[in-house]
Every structure is written in C-alpha cells, then in structure tokens.
C-alpha cells in the first residue's frame, strides 16, 4: 500500500498562489465575496501562511509557506470526530465524509495546522457558473467541515486507468491539482514507501523539515528550505 505525500521546496516557491486557485477550481469551491472573506469564512484548502522575520533587524525577510492538509500519520482531527466522519483511509489519506459530518467543528479546533474549514454558507454559484463544476467532487452543503483531500478523486481515476492498462500505479499517474499547476515546480508528489520516488529522495535532503513536528503528528507534507527553516538550523 502506498503512502502518498508531498514535498514543497520553499526555495523554488514564488508565492504566486496558483496552487490555491487550482485547488479551488478542481474541488468545486464556491466563489467567495468581500463579505465572506472579511469574516474569515472564505474557503481555501491550501493557503499561504506568512512568516516574517527580523522586524527592525538587519536582515528582515518574509517567508510564505503553502499549507495544505498534512495528511498526518497520527492525525489529531480523526480522534475527536464523534461520528467517524473523518478517518485515515487505506492509502494513508485523511478523508472527510461529508454525509456523516454534523458540523460540530471539533476537528477544526483539534487540527494544529488549522487547515480544516467549516461551510458557514450555502454554496452559491451564480448562473452560469454551475456549468463549470466538476462531476468528480461533490459540492459540500452548508454546515459541514471540509479540507484538502490530496485530490483523492484523482487517485481513484489513476487507479482505474492503471487497472485498465493492467499495470500498477506509477509515479506521475496521480498528482493533486496544486502540484500539477505549480509554475516553478516547487511541489513534488508521490509515494513515501517507494525509496526511489522523487519525494523519498527529496525528503532525505538536509534542507527538509516538517511543520510542528514536535506534536508527533507525523505530517506527510515535507518542506525544503535552506538556512533558518531547514535542517541547517
């Protein structure tokens, strides 16, 4: 069984946010408005989190880190769900079953990366935007929690295609929308259980680090960066 994960090279990332929009389009996220954005209710499954450094110091810098769901191996969110709406699936992906979710939001509180989001509003796609919806992903109703799925539907499609071709699934068959779109090629995706995969090789880099590793969540998103963020610190 594969262990899907992502590596994001912050030295290559230009903070263009193509990943953010690619994800929103792929996953049928409704367009926000100024009002919802102002209230912090606009939904994005991956977003860029700023880390400023050296305010007033000699070498100030700004780091912008793309944060999707970490698909932790020990996710704090699944443990608190009272209705088993979120679980670790066979492929190691942390899934969310919208039909089971009761919207209690325990999981949004439990997630240390705050990547889980609650649907405060009914989804609305003003005519004719509905025509652009993808049939692969259900539109979430109001009152449920959603989050990055690593484009799980793409994994299903890739598995089907591989099965039809009578071969095992290969590297590159399955990429989430954000990884596919990334202009500078800062994101890599693959199977951490395969020692020859690109992500496995990158994860061995001295520049590699994980977010909030000390919590014991074992995130499957690994970052690469030189200097103060990476292994050199």
């Amino acid at each position: 069984m594969a262990r899907w994960g992502m590596v994001i090279d912050l030295d290559r990332c230009t903070a263009c946010q193509a990943c953010v929009v690619a994800c929103q389009v792929e996953n049928n996220i409704p367009p926000a408005s100024a009002r919802t954005a102002e209230r912090g209710r606009a939904i994005a499954w991956i977003r860029l989190v700023p880390f400023g450094k050296g305010e007033g110091g000699e070498h100030p810098s700004l780091r912008l880190i793309p944060v999707p769901c970490m698909h932790c191996e020990h996710p704090p969110c699944t443990k608190v769900c009272p209705v088993h709406a979120t679980q670790v699936g066979d492929d190691g992906l942390v899934g969310q079953v919208y039909a089971r979710c009761i919207g209690c939001r325990y999981c949004t509180t439990a997630c240390p990366y705050t990547v889980r989001q609650f649907n405060w509003d009914r989804p609305a796609f003003p005519e004719p935007m509905e025509a652009g919806l993808s049939p692969d992903v259900s539109v979430r109703p109001r009152g449920v929690v959603e989050k990055c799925s690593f484009c799980h539907h793409r994994l299903q499609n890739a598995k089907d295609a591989a099965r039809a071709a009578g071969r095992p699934i290969r590297e590159g068959d399955y990429l989430p929308a954000c990884v596919e779109s990334c202009p500078p090629g800062a994101m890599a995706f693959g199977d951490f259980d395969d020692p020859r995969s690109t992500v496995s090789r990158l994860a061995e880099s001295h520049r590699a680090f994980k977010l909030l590793e000390e919590l014991g969540t074992h995130p499957k998103v690994i970052y690469l960066s030189k200097g103060e963020w990476g292994g050199e610190s």
Binding site: T14, V20, T114, G132, S134
Partner: protein, 826 residues
C-alpha cells in the same frame, strides 16, 4: 416526514447542548443544520481534453482544458507548450470564472442614456452594430479624414490585436496606441544601448547570480508562468550550484520575498545603487575587459567610431558615483555595495534585471540603462545565463497597403499622441498625451475611438483626463468582454469572445527568446453569450468599409487568416511543432549542427501538427550573434553615459526641491499577480490572493513603515487618506517593515467602478494619484516619482470595505487560525 441522518444527529446535539446552555442556543444550532443539503449535483459525461491559449494576460500560455460532456471544467497548462510547460498561474487557473462569469456582456450593446452605467445600454444584434459602426466609419473616410479614427489597445499579441492594427492603418490612421507599457522602458534601454527594438530576455535558468533592481519578475512579468518556471530551474540544486538571488528595492515585494537577500534602498535609487556597483567593478578591475574592448563603445571618454565624442562611463562613474556618495544616496552601507559587486563578478554567469514592476509599471529609463551598463560590464550580453535578444516569429507580411488613396493620405498625418520617432519621442505610444489631444482637438479632432481590451479610465496614468476626453469623442466603440469602466462610457460595447470560444494565433510574449506561434481553435463550439472574437469584428468592419480596407487582409475569416500565417512559417524552413522535452533537445541539437529536422514535410502537416499539439516554435538560440544583437550605429554596445549623466542631473534637481518638504513620502506602486495589467479583480478567486504577506483581502491598502505611521498618528488596520498633486484616495493602513520609512506602497489593479459584481467598488485606484510628471528622457508617465501626503481618515469612501466598522470583532475562525499558524515556529 423524512428525517435525514445529519439532521437527526444535529437535532440531537442541538437538544443536548440546548439543555445545557439554554433553549435558544439549541434552537439556533439545529436551525443551522436543518437546511444543510447542497443544491448542486454536477452531471457527468464524456471526458475530453482540448487545447487553447490563455489570453488573460499577454503571457500566452498554452493550456489544456478538461471538458466533461463538452463543458470546460478545468484549465491546466499544455505540457508540450514552451511557455507554460504544463503549468499555469492563478489567473489562468481562474480563467473559467471569466468564461462562466455572470456579468459578461451578453451581446452588442448600444448606449441610450447617461454614461457610466450598464442600465443605460440596450441589447442589439450584431447586424445592427455593424450597420451603424460600419456606416459611421465609411462616412468618416468619405469625408477624407480617416486619421481621426483612433485605436487604443492592450493585452496579448493575439490575432485580434494584429487585425486591429491592420484595420486601422488600412483605414488610414496612424493612431494605433498601446495602453499597457510595462516593457516600454526596458525596450528603450535596449534600443539605446544595443540598437534592438524589443524587451530584454533574461536567461534565468542558466545563470548563477541574479541582481534585480526592484523588478517584479516573479509577480507580473511579461509571461508569469515562463518566469516562474525559469526561476524554478535557476533554483534547482544542480551539482554544487544553486543560484543566488539578490533583490534591491524600497518595498519588499513578493519577488523580493523569494530572494536570498533584500537590500532596502531609498525610494527611486535602485539605478544609483547599480551604478555604485558598476563603479566598484571598474575601480577594482573586475569587469569583462574582452567584451568592453571588442564589443562596447562609450566606456572611455572621447570619440568613438560611429558616434559623437562624449563622456565615457568610466569618467562618469569616477566623477559622480563614488562609493561614499552612492552609499549616502541609497542608504546602503559601503560594505554591502562592495560585497554585492564582488559576488556579481565572482559568479560564473550573473544577470542584472531591470526595474519593470508589472504590465502597467515599466520602471524608470535611468534604472534600466544602469542595469544594461552592469550587464555589459560583467560581460553577459548574449552569453549563456545572460541577457538575450528575442527573435521574431517569421509570420509573413500581409498584403502591402496601397501607397495612394485616402488610406495612404490619412497615414501621413502625425500621430495624435506625438509618439514614435516622427513625434520626437522615445516611446511608441503615449495614451496620456492622446487624452490631451482629444481634449484640445489638436492637431486634429478625434471622430472615432475604438477601445480594444483597453480600460484607460482605470489603467492609464490619467484616468480622470480620459474620463473627460471620452465624453468629447463623438463615437466610441469598446471591444470588451466585461463592463469595464471605459466600456460603460462608450457608445457601443461589442463583447469579445472568451479565449475558449475563438480561433487565435499568439506570437512570442515579451521576455522570451524563442520565436513561437500558438494556434488555438474554439474549445466551445458556440460562445456562451452572443460574443465574437475581435479578429472577426475587425474583419467584418473592414468588409463594411470595403475597398482597400477589405483587401488589406489575406483572408476573410480568422481560421483562414491563421492558416495563411502558418503557411508562411512553413516557408521559413525552421523550427518544429511543439513537442516533448526530448523533441526540443533534438531540434536544438540538429539546428545547432546546421540541420532542419521539423517532423513535417508539407504545410498541411505543420497545420495539423500545430492544431494537435498547440503550435510551432524554434527552440534553438544562437549565442553571440553580434550582428543581430548589437545593431547600434557603431555596431557595439553603447553605454550612453551622457544620457545617464543628463538624467542624473535632472533627478538631483528634483530631489533637492523635494527635500524641502519632509512631510511628503514617495509613492511606490506595485502590481499583484492576480490583478496585474488591470484585470483580475473581476474573477472572484483572485481578490483573495492580492498579497499573502498580510491579511488584507478584497480591498486596497497602503504599506507604511512603523516609524512613519507613528509620526502620522496612523494605526494598523485604520484608514488613511493619501493625497498628491494629482488627486487623493482612501485606503486601509498596513503598518509593516516591508517598506522603507520614506515611502508608502500601494497595489494597482483595484478601484474599478465597473467590471461586474465582484470588481465593482473594490478598493481604490492609485493611478489617480499620478500627476502630469514624466520620467526624464523616456517620456513615460512618472510612475515612481510621485510625492504623497498622509492623513488619518475615518473609513473608505465606497465599496464593500465600508463594512469595516466591525473589522476584527467578528473574525470567526480566522483570528484563531492566524494565531495558530503564526505560532508554528515560535
């Protein structure tokens, strides 16, 4: 009654908590879950992938569109396309929102009431539009004043853009004016120093060291995806090598955030910093002596072959750009200048990138000339990892225009904007002077104005002047997909078909070295609204005018026109159909050895291949082809030290005058990628992306240094009125160390009064602050020299931002999220 599981559990939970905290809370909670189900159930269907070219910016990315039952549902890069390489920027990703936008212009609209509101327009048929517009054009021509027609355009190098230019010159007018001039200052610098008329190409993937003089090349370059891909390659850890990137600017941009080092300089002194580096290189003998000796002129003072005797660069640097002086003027320490100069020299290949900030912000010519001088000193002109010169796509000329008749007579008139060499200006277009000429009716009045994709009421340096000017034009036609500010002031709005709804041919975007022609055919068989491509519109107008105007095109419909151009490319006998990385390497190798191995034998095969894979290109670049890249009178790279000297003196005078007024700050403008070029706020995924460095979304803001904020009594998230000699705007305050104390930074791209439900009244337009001042020598609007005053304001003047009364009080999850995320590494 059917009770669904979610509702049941919700009710139970509501009841339990209701019992605990009181019934009203329980009632509220259960109400929340009662209406939970989604009304959307997207239907499935056959999946297909079709190719096209994104034209939301001039970048020209080849895209691959995923269609379900014929409906486009996702746009990604076309993996074979040399610009996008299978990648796409956020704007391209959001492009389906422009296709399915609820506020697209539904069909041709004729204004019957007041300007400025869509309610004043009524829907007409295309035939009615062509009868009236064609009739108007014919009568202008019959009266013998075709020069009074003006075309103001912006956007991609598309078929429609070429058809518009062609239509106008065949009609008999010289007034073909471009509104977006992001590449203009860099092009002029290249023309002065290398005699080449095109935007510079930076060979980022092969360089080792990048010194950027305030460039926004990672946010809003001519082709953002191509730049980002090049940056990715530059950053790739190759054996023992990883490019270093230093950004010099007075406001830490997102490009700067991606750099290894930010050198903060006083506003507008990036060029002086560059000349300081140049003076270290010359003093310490670290420059490329061979290149200077063989291929450069004007390094030493005195007469040079082919040009007038004058000041040499060495003498200028010694006299005016000594280290101490540069350090004092830029605010950068001598040590840093010395270190950067030595790093620049020590790198195997180093590159200095000029200060182009975005599609509307070209940067000052002085800074671009300084960047050019540095590039020549380090000897990277046309070398690998250096500064290259683009090759044009070998598109065949369209039929020659008649040298006689009303068309030829009309073209002989001087341009209304006085641009170009005949007008004695270095710029090719001067829309602000065009507005002036329209108002003054001199040298002749304007009878007919076509706005093609151009929104001068928002995106020019003189929005107010254009608003007045457009009222003085008897007849204005706007070709626009959206009710832009300018379209709402026109007499006719002709909706342009979306790029997924039309035939198109895109040539090389600015900033890329290789010639290319991307062919796209409609992804959707019928446009979703009653729209037509601009190429179709111009072809039809040409037919209605008739005679030599109609025969100025080699074909009468867009696909035949594209086929004609592709046949010409076949005849050029070079390049190949867009292919895989292996194909690319193969073509490069073969052409390098003097062979042509295109993989097609006939024009028909090229056409089929181009339609199937996205187009044609020629990846081979011949370095150090001096006759092509150095086309000055002397045949050498010219330093133009006398011009640098002249501008420096003019700027010094201005600075002395300004220093008297210490309460004023320098205005620094920038263009966030998602709204660059004046388009993007229309699409609701994009206003959330303006700058991930802080929380401001869906509104304009001013970045102000903490010290400056204190002096002016401004607090973070409060409001500030920013005023200049040109006008004033009210924006949100962001107190940040990302900007130096002497400057205030504001994003351009918002502040529209039109543009549909999302863009309307969002934020403010900082172009209103620009005065009539011009950048010395280039004659471009002075986008970087405006001085502004700050004053505390109570709230925004218009728009959704007016809800600010409760800002911060009901931030829901966001406050918690931000707090959490900020503690990641603390």
């Amino acid at each position: 009654m059917k009770i669904e599981r979610r509702r049941f559990v919700g009710l139970m939970l509501g009841a339990t908590s209701g019992a605990a905290v009181g019934l009203s809370a329980g009632h509220l909670l259960s109400k929340t879950f009662a209406t939970a189900d989604s009304p959307y159930d997207p239907p499935g269907g056959i999946e297909e992938f079709r190719l096209s070219v994104c034209s939301l910016c001039p970048g020209g990315c080849g895209v691959r569109v995923r269609c379900i039952a014929g409906r486009p549902v996702k746009v990604d890069g076309n993996p074979r396309h040399p610009v996008s390489g299978g990648r796409l920027c956020p704007k391209g990703q959001a492009s389906l929102q422009s296709l399915y936008h609820p506020d697209r212009i539904p069909g041709p609209m004729r204004r019957k009431g007041e300007r400025g509101s869509l309610a004043s327009f009524e829907k007409k048929t295309w035939e009615e539009a062509f009868v009236e517009i064609g009739g108007r054009l014919r009568s202008i021509r019959e009266q013998g004043k075709p020069e009074s027609a003006v075309l103001l355009r912006a956007g991609a190098m598309s078929l429609g853009s070429r058809a518009g230019s062609r239509f106008l010159s065949a009609f008999g007018s010289p007034n073909d004016v471009r509104l977006d001039r992001g590449d203009e200052a860099a092009s002029i610098a290249l023309r002065l120093t290398q005699g080449v008329k095109s935007a510079p190409v930076y060979d980022l993937p092969s360089t080792d060291y990048v010194l950027s003089l305030g460039s926004g090349f990672l946010e809003a370059s001519g082709s953002p995806v191509a730049s980002a891909r090049a940056f990715g390659e530059f950053r790739q850890v190759r054996t023992g090598r990883r490019g270093k990137f230093v950004q010099v600017e007075s406001r830490l941009s997102l490009t700067g955030a991606a750099a290894d080092e930010w050198i903060a300089v006083h506003p507008g002194t990036e060029g002086i910093f560059a000349l300081g580096i140049a003076s270290v290189l010359v003093n310490e003998d670290l420059y490329d002596r061979d290149f200077i000796a063989e291929h450069a002129a004007g390094f030493e003072s005195g007469p040079t072959p082919g040009s007038k005797p004058g000041l040499g660069l060495r003498a200028l640097l010694e006299r005016d750009f000594g280290l101490e002086r540069v350090a004092a003027e830029t605010g950068v320490s001598v040590n840093v200048i010395l270190r950067v100069a030595r790093e620049l020299h020590a790198a195997r290949a180093s590159l200095v990138v000029g200060p182009r900030r975005g599609p509307l912000l070209p940067g000052s010519l002085f800074d671009h000339l300084a960047a050019q001088a540095l590039n020549a000193l380090v000897g990277n002109i046309d070398g690998e990892g250096g500064l290259l010169v683009a090759e044009e796509t070998p598109i065949p000329a369209w039929p020659e225009l008649s040298a006689k008749g009303p068309g030829a007579e009309g073209r002989k008139h001087s341009r209304l904007d006085g641009a170009g060499q005949n007008g004695g200006k270095l710029v090719d277009s001067d829309p602000e002077d065009l507005a002036g000429a329209i108002l003054s009716k001199k040298p002749y009045p304007v009878e007919f104005l076509i706005l093609h994709d151009a929104d001068p009421l928002h995106s020019s340096a003189a929005p107010a002047r254009f608003a007045k000017a457009i009222e003085g034009v008897p007849f204005t036609v706007s070709i626009s997909a959206f009710p832009s500010d300018s379209a709402l002031h026109a007499d006719w709005i002709l909706p342009e078909a979306h790029f997924l709804e039309r035939w198109d041919l895109h040539t090389t975007p600015p900033g890329l070295s290789f010639p290319l022609a991307s062919v796209s055919k409609p992804v959707l068989e019928h446009p979703l609204v009653d729209a037509r491509s601009s190429a179709e519109i111009f072809l039809e107008l040409a037919k209605r005018v008739g005679g030599e105007v109609a025969s100025a095109f080699p074909a009468s419909d867009p696909p035949s026109l594209i086929r004609h151009d592709m046949d010409g490319i076949f005849a050029a006998q070079r390049g190949a159909v867009m292919g895989t990385a292996f194909d690319e390497a193969w073509v490069r190798m073969m052409e390098g050895a003097g062979w042509w191995a295109p993989g097609y034998r006939t024009a028909e095969e090229l056409w089929k291949g181009a339609l199937e894979f996205g187009g044609w290109w020629d990846p081979f670049y011949d370095h150090e082809e001096w006759a092509r890249v150095l086309r000055t009178p002397s045949g050498k790279f010219e330093f133009k030290a006398d011009l640098l000297d002249g501008i420096a003196k003019e700027r010094a005078q201005k600075l002395t005058a300004e220093n008297g007024n210490a309460t004023e700050l320098s205005l620094v403008l920038f263009e966030p990628l998602s709204v660059a070029g004046g388009f993007g706020a229309e699409l609701p995924f994009l206003p959330a992306l303006l700058d991930p460095g802080h929380e401001e979304r869906w509104e304009s803001w001013a970045e102000i240094h903490p010290e400056t904020a204190k002096i002016h009594g401004l607090r973070d998230k409060g409001w500030v009125r920013i005023s200049s000699a040109g006008g004033s705007i009210v924006v949100r305050v962001v107190v940040t160390w990302r900007v130096v104390p002497e400057a205030v930074a504001i994003p351009a791209g918002l502040g529209k009064r039109g543009g549909g439900r999302w863009a309307r009244d969002m934020g403010a337009n900082p172009f209103k602050l620009l005065g009539a001042a011009r950048d010395p020598l280039s004659g471009l609007p002075d986008f970087q020299g405006t001085r502004v005053r700050l004053e505390k304001a109570q709230g925004p003047e218009t728009g959704p931002g007016a809800m600010a009364a409760w800002h911060g009080s009901d931030s829901g999850l966001s406050g918690l999220e931000l707090q959490n995320t900020r503690n990641f590494r603390s």
